[in-house]
């Protein structure tokens, strides 16, 4: 069964209220894909961070907008695509500050993309501002 490609899609209004549902969606698909519990937890966090960024930065908390999460797995890996039509940004311009520096500056943010990159095996942005911004991320399935 795990050899066949399986696709799951979730559309939710762009509100942090829906992050819990998003995580449940990810957890269910991840478990079905045969990921270990530890890896499922990593997927949940990575997708949560990506969607929280869309809700906050791409759409500026406008709940009339929609966040789309597309999950796909085969026997080898699981991938998630987070799609928005919001303002977009240039991910190459985002510098990753050291935690110590963020703390000294009393920043409450700046950790999300770092988490995503640490938790996933491949992370790729495709940005067409206002039209379609896509974050694609992939993780290999370890045999549990």
């Amino acid at each position: 069964m795990s050899g066949i490609e399986q696709t799951f899609i979730l559309h939710v209004p762009s509100s942090t209220e829906n992050l819990a549902l998003i995580r449940e969606f990810v957890a269910t698909v991840g478990a079905q894909a045969g990921m270990t519990k530890a890896d499922v937890a990593k997927l949940e966090l990575a997708v949560d961070e990506a969607c929280a960024n869309v809700i906050e930065h791409a759409y500026g908390h406008d709940a009339s907008k929609e966040v789309i999460i597309r999950a796909n797995y085969d026997g080898e890996s699981i991938s998630f695509e987070i799609v928005d039509t919001g303002k977009g940004f240039d991910p190459t311009k985002i510098t990753q500050e050291a935690l110590e520096k963020l703390v000294l500056q009393r920043k409450s943010g700046g950790l999300g993309m770092r988490l995503i990159k640490t938790l996933m095996d491949e992370v790729q942005y495709e940005i067409v501002p206002g039209q379609k911004n896509e974050l694609r991320m992939r993780k290999r399935i370890k045999k549990s």
Partner: protein, 123 residues
């Protein structure tokens, strides 16, 4: 109602004990932030965050620790973290929190840390 969250604050020998229960994400982190702000407003700068019942935390929750710790240390206080379950601890670790925050397994050690040294660990 999946993924509930609750935060409750109590006082123990001049230390503010903030207990997190459930899921801290971008939706619930503002409640955690408000709980710390309330302590600061009351002049309480010796804070232990009890994470024994914390089941999930995203960067929005970690950001709350980050944004307040300098302010309390400036006032000779600290924010100590205790009781993290292994699954949640992992998130703190990959971001380097153990280098900047005092993280203890149990509450007593965290509380005792304040009685022996009233000043904060330097970052």
């Amino acid at each position: 109602m999946p993924n509930p969250f609750n935060v409750s604050t109590s006082q123990q020998n001049g230390i503010s004990l903030i207990a997190l229960d459930g899921f801290v994400d971008a939706h619930t982190a503002p409640q955690f932030e408000a709980a710390i702000q309330t302590e600061l407003d009351a002049g309480h700068v010796r804070i232990v965050v009890d994470c024994a019942k914390l089941t999930y935390i995203s960067s929005a929750g970690l950001g709350v620790f980050m944004s307040f710790v300098e302010e309390v240390r400036d006032q000779n206080g600290d924010i100590k973290i205790c009781g993290l379950a292994p699954k949640v601890r992992h998130t703190f670790e990959i971001l380097g929190f153990p280098d900047l925050f005092e993280m203890t397994d149990d509450l007593d050690t965290a509380l005792a840390g304040f009685s022996t040294a009233h000043s904060a660990k330097e970052g």
